[in-house]
Assembly symmetry: C2
Homo-oligomer: 410 residues x 2
């Protein structure tokens, strides 16, 4: 008799984005002539830039020619891409990361979920609240949690509330976790972590033999030179951290699919007898056994991001979205909202007025302005009363949306 | 303290293909002027065909244009691809499979490994011996096995020996498994399963409430009209089977990366109280939570396989490789070897002469003819004394390799 993985039954049925989709569809059906502006899902809208596009085409063309055809590539990614990453994202910033510590994949969503597999069920996981839902959901799937409580918290997960009082920076948890998910620049709050904050976390992880799972998917949006782009800029991090990076938001790759994970050679976890076991070979085994590499033309396109022209072009993309973020921040502030994030991040985190719940504000916004955003409570109970605007929209739509929001009646 | 998944420690260090690579590299270093012919790894060599290539380029071009740009797509794959698959691979063959039962992914290696996650640890898995190593390795990783024995068998896996005596078709196991991996046309033996054989397995699965995990990655190589291409051609299979398909060997996609998994709506597994739980929603949850869809241009390229021109072109590719298989079969038979497979499959399974072990034959072949093949024992103990030749090489190399093998001295 085939048995299911019962941990899946613990998951809540309603995922945030499908529920948003449902409400928007219903609204659109009821009011077909309304001009709906979508600033909900964090998906990019601007096309691939010319240099990246050309490399993508070139990669495709190679597959059509007998002499340049590529079959299976290395599961960890081609050297040309891993070396470009190591050089440009790390070594040129003075960070010690080598190509053999980099694993190219088809997405950070996959990586942050799959990484759970190489760690045992008895690990206690810490996650921020509010947070990207995938960390918690994949923790549940992997059997590391108990049941879901009425507030949406799962037993055996250490939740770290992030709120106005702590500046949306989690405090060191009292219950010591074994694996700690951190994401900076943060999704959904747009907060960044200073060097001093990250140092506190690295020291905490060293003291507790914990591992930090550091999601840096939005590092390209850091505008303040004093903010670290990588956890590995912090002394000691090579012993306690794994970093996840993605080209999705850096270069408009949400539909192209390419990302990477960095696991330093000095990172160790433990077996039940307390013996040290190197983590990189475990991930290598997982990656080579359950994955077969990223499409060759996609890797060519990703490598073009690191060319001189490519760098210039993606800076333009990021400037575009950051200018959207500035417009959102300033317009909402002007309209009397309390606003966070959106300076070193593509997300603006807004406090609702009149103590509206996140979903009440969602419905009000949809009905009165036809603008779609993301209810903060969908990211966890501490997000209640907040709302996320994504800066990944077209400029004219951002301007129009902000105009409409100014005129909301209370 | 971060704990590892100790199941990974049960895995054997040496994976088959790295060991082949090591021996070939050493040989090449010692004899740099030798013309080595590789027929080991089952990787295609012929370029993408024109229609597929054009669709791939068109998909890339869409990403470079503001009006046609695509961000995140549906995790399960775009409707245009899922509908083309359902229509062409199933409905037009009289098989009842709908687009909503199809999950597009980046590879069957990923899918056959990841599928384990939705099933509980207490399931007993059955696999053939010899077999594609990923089934066993991912079973071990998922915690469903005991330790590895000296013969390479893991405790708690039901092994089904496939040998000359049973025509390389597994017999129904005495210990009843919960999940049964089957692969036809078979890798590595090149055997196919008749309708009657598959019916026996479907009936056995129904009787035992087991689920068949059916790997049909090589179905495009079936030349005999009486052989089923899909497990779903068998009555009752919709209640007991999951099917894995890939474009890798069908259309030369090993470096392009696209595959799909079919889970019928009527497939159920059980919770520990014996209640039925539908399997498709579990996989949907896994697929949408831990995966973010296949690159858009890759899906466009895959859909072009189903156009009239695309169909003609990939038929040409498959004919090319099957002609290689015929040459290998006939040459080796002529040279006095006992040969299996290679008629409805791209693999030829050869018995060594003089009772050489698989690795002895590998070394002899490499040293005397500079031809690289795959030792059968690498696929499991029942593969000892056998050897796999892949037909995915260039024609001129196949001819040259067969000429050289004729002249091996014993």
């Amino acid at each position: 008799m085939a048995f299911i993985n019962e941990n899946y039954l613990k998951l809540k049925a309603g995922y945030l984005f499908p529920e948003i989709g449902r409400r928007v569809r219903e609204f659109a059906a009821a009011y077909p002539d309304k001009d709906i502006i979508r600033m909900g899902i964090g998906d990019v809208t601007q096309p691939l830039t010319p240099t990246i596009l050309k490399a993508f085409h070139d990669g495709v063309e190679e597959l059509g020619n007998k002499n340049t055809f590529k079959g299976y590539g290395p599961e960890q990614g081609y050297d040309f891409l891993r070396e470009a990453i190591a050089l440009n994202d790390y070594q040129q910033r003075g960070v010690e990361i080598s190509a053999d510590e980099i694993f190219v994949s088809d997405g950070s969503k996959c990586d942050t979920g799959n990484i759970q597999e190489i760690f045992g069920d008895k690990n206690i996981i810490a996650i921020c609240d509010p947070v990207y839902p995938v960390y918690a959901d994949t923790t549940v799937m992997s059997g590391k949690t108990g049941e879901c409580q009425s507030n949406g918290y799962f037993d055996n997960i250490v939740y770290m509330p992030c709120n106005e009082a702590n500046g949306f920076i989690p405090e060191l948890p009292v219950t010591r976790p074994d694996l700690i998910f951190l994401c900076f620049p943060n999704n959904p709050t747009g907060t960044v972590a200073t060097r001093a904050i990250l140092k506190t976390w690295v020291d905490y992880a060293i003291a507790n033999k914990s591992i930090i799972l550091y999601d840096a998917a939005y590092e390209a949006y850091i505008t303040d030179d004093s903010i670290p782009h990588s956890i590995f800029e912090i002394e000691g991090a090579r012993n306690v951290a794994i970093e996840f990076r993605s080209f999705s938001k850096t270069a408009g790759f949400t539909g192209t699919r390419c990302a990477f994970t960095v696991i330093p050679n000095e990172l160790f976890a433990y077996d039940e007898q307390g013996n040290q076991v190197a983590v990189k070979p475990l991930w290598m085994r997982r990656h080579t056994t359950k994955f077969n590499g990223v499409s060759y033309p996609v890797q060519k396109a990703a490598a073009a991001i690191y060319s001189d022209e490519g760098k210039k072009e993606i800076k333009g993309l990021i400037r575009y979205y950051l200018e959207n973020a500035r417009l959102i921040r300033e317009s909402l502030t002007e309209a009397g909202y309390t606003v966070f994030g959106g300076i070193n991040a593509p997300y603006v985190w807004v406090k609702t007025k009149n103590n509206l719940t996140s979903w009440e504000f969602f419905d009000k916004l949809l009905n009165e302005t036809n603008v779609v955003g993301t209810p903060g409570s969908g990211f966890g109970p501490s997000g209640e009363g907040y709302f996320r605007f994504s800066a990944f929209a077209d400029r004219d739509k951002v301007i129009k949306a902000m105009e409409r929001i100014k005129n909301i009646s209370y």
